[in-house]
Symmetry: D2
Subunit: 283 residues, 4 copies
């Protein structure tokens, strides 16, 4: 039976996954949520028509969003996750015994509940006792919060719909204020390849560079995202992800990872020339 999910990655590029079965379809107050099963990618989550994660390649995204900052500063104790309703980021964070508290702010309860039911491997650690779920707008949470965090991870959708506020100057400023003196901000930062993604990436980079003394971009290969070449932003008040990187310390934790390793850590900051130029002159 030919049932295909198609993401128009641009107006002129389509990426399609053959679907075995639809497991969930729901319209929350914020977005359209679908979960499908497939032979090639296993189960996968679609929000507003866009691939959020597939069971086959989510390990790449979650390895890179968590282990790069954690290996830069393995002493992180308090973490704020904005977005990340699928639970994958939290799952990786909970592997660090040194982390004492994880606040996760996800606007859409339906995403969390659907992932807990249909993507248990990804969402499995949301009930870790260090995790506190806040079902509210990320922008409002950071505006209001008085906490201090060692690490803030912005695990957002693209800057359309509910994710839009998470790409604004005000949001980044609030994050800056919530970070401790040696705090790190990691944010989902789009892609350099297709024009629309690159434009959003440059805008985000420009804003963050204007706020943080240290601001970099690192890359990873994400097969189900447009072009497969995807980026995270790394910003910090104190730590440089390369100069301050102490691989032995992370190695000593003995975590097994399928994508991340301490070499990949370094290589991920070695950007192709055209990407480096975008990041250096984001306008």
């Amino acid at each position: 039976m030919e049932l295909w999910y198609t993401q128009p990655q641009t107006d002129n590029i389509r990426f399609s996954i053959k679907v075995k079965e639809e497991l969930f379809s729901g319209k929350s107050p914020y977005q359209q949520i679908n979960i499908f099963d497939s032979d090639e990618m296993g189960r996968f989550l679609i929000i507003d028509g866009i691939v959020m994660l597939t069971s086959k390649d989510e390990f790449i995204y979650h390895d890179m969003i968590v282990h790069v900052p954690m290996a830069t500063n393995p002493d992180v104790k308090k973490v704020l996750v904005i977005g990340g309703g699928d639970g994958g980021t939290v799952r990786e964070l909970t592997r660090y015994a040194g982390i004492e508290k994880i606040d996760m702010v996800e606007i859409d309860r339906m995403v969390v509940e659907a992932c807990q039911k249909y993507l248990p491997l990804t969402a499995s650690k949301l009930n870790d006792k260090r995790v506190q779920l806040h079902f509210e707008n990320g922008m409002e949470f950071v505006r209001r919060s008085k906490e201090k965090y060692d690490l803030i991870i912005v695990d957002s959708t693209d800057p359309i719909g509910p994710g839009e506020g998470l790409f604004t100057m005000e949001f980044y400023k609030c994050c800056f204020n919530l970070l401790s003196e040696d705090g790190i901000l990691v944010n989902q930062c789009e892609s350099p390849f297709y024009e629309k993604n690159a434009k959003e990436m440059r805008k985000a980079v420009k804003k963050i560079k204007s706020l943080f003394p240290i601001s970099k971009v690192y890359q990873y290969n994400m097969p189900t995202y447009p072009s497969g070449h995807w980026l995270f932003g790394f910003a910090s008040k104190k730590y440089d992800p390369i100069k301050d990187f102490k691989p032995e310390k992370w190695e000593a934790l003995g975590l097994e990872t399928k994508y991340y390793n301490t070499d990949v850590h370094i290589g991920s900051f070695m950007l192709p020339t055209y990407v480096r130029k975008m990041v250096e002159n984001p306008e």
Copy 2:
């Protein structure tokens, strides 16, 4: 007008590019060749239904297939290119003044002529006077040749159809024999992500490892190839691409490149854990 070229990247994944116009369609004795124009990717070349290159991302492939070995040993003088009928590999090679001779062995004259006509930016340097074109089977050429080369680049299609012989043990042995004492072999080495590609990758890696004292794999992000995560093999009798890498020497050449740089060189060998495991235990 909706005209779409679709590559079934696996049985369950389709990648589609909206076509503006078909520029060329021909059936040679070896394969089906099509060249299309598109808004997103510019002109692109399809062989036996598979994307060979697009004008938008071919710079990545050709930067990485040429500049990694050339920066490892900038003294290369004689080069053999097997395949590469589109001319992109030769184009990058001709930028090195030190290269004295390039033998290019392409089985299919129709590919070369179509690319010269419709992809002139890629094929432009095939008439460089150091280049000699040999329209014959790559396997037979390496079996017969008595030359010695400093660099052999296997710029082949996937191991089906005319490209199949270029993935055999005999072929790699012949390449080994044709290489000078400090010779380097670079080969198109598929991808670790989708099972079919990964299987071919492992088979090629295993064969090359059994022959060469130094054998590595390096990665690049190729948006129009399946998964976007693609590999080249690097094998040598003498040079390690990292230990023997002297970035200053390459920098001194003053070549401008859009993807490759001396950081990318190093980062490209920093493989994700699951890829590293495949390469270390290719069976």
Copy 3:
């Protein structure tokens, strides 16, 4: 969200319906069954990857499979339906007060139950007290049965999978034997347009012509079936659907129909020349 059901109507033709939601997916011992919801066609039923019915155009199929024979002989009292698990044929039959008994033989209980749940408008009359459901192989039922029927309707899938037996000579012979002296056989008879369908149509027509004194083919326009030009076979021991047609008698019943009317009845037997030739010389 782009989710598309696609039917490859031939190797070279694809027909796709945008899906809102999957309502049912099940694998019975006989076939793969899916029910989807869509904006354009409403809910629709797919069996083994092929469109069986859509809420938007099923009225055409069911009008034509039932009212043509019933208007030819409005005195029909006992009906046998082979297949027709969606219930649409039975729904139309139950509108005739004169019908006393309907035996429906459907091999696949899962089809019936899924349609009762998700396609209630089609399946609504399966619980009419004149209807008796037999969940068994149609071939075996007709082989064994000793009943006499005034009308047999073969409401089958294409002649692959469980529908295959319903296109054999033995099956038609058994139907002949089960029909009363003035009995009528109507059968789903594929399409004249695409080669594969036309071949099956000719084979079925040839077999039926060899058995029945009166054998015709009539057409209807079914938008979601390949080519939209679709046929039913009409065979009888006694009644000619045109010569014995008494439109007034049917009009007197006062049935409202959206596709069928007594003009359409006549027009449906007026076949295009190329179809007429196929039917006259089915080999």
Copy 4:
């Protein structure tokens, strides 16, 4: 090689034909014109992204647009064809020895020239000496012309782009005025099935009914048009296509046709109930 032409028949329905080769692509001042070759449909003509004709089913369209009016009045001598740049309508008209003059008014010379080159079987009779080609706007031609015609055939595209004027009240009025006392108007009249087509059909029918004493709609099955159920309008000052139909006279001409015959003529006016209602109450 997977190259597919896709027509979005509605926002939610796609019809796709696998393409072997693109034969022609051109942008005239009026529209985008493409001609493809395919295994299933042979060569086919696309205008502004919409299927105009395929070699496999154009016989149906051209049989029905020409032979229905010509069999109603085989004494037609002067014919005006508006549109029809592919030449198929003229080809069928030239088979009538009694026709003395055919004026064909096609706005787009590029369509005619491309069809003459790549669709010679369809366009073959445009050089018949009774045919005069006028490359101009159909609306302006009928506004200006002082001729009298026995038959006007509006062989237009859908009412968007250059075809739009050919669906206006003013255009139909001018046609009325150009027709002789027993003149017949036949016009491409869209389809009853999908909402957008049905709306255009009703609007056209309503206008023509208000002008002509006799106005009907007849149907044919066109596999490559949306839904396959397609209509022509028949309007006349004198002749009813059924009451005045003398099949023997047309039969006597001895024309061989693959779709049309004198039964199909009659059956084509026997409309399904829902279509009949639309035509009777076009608003």
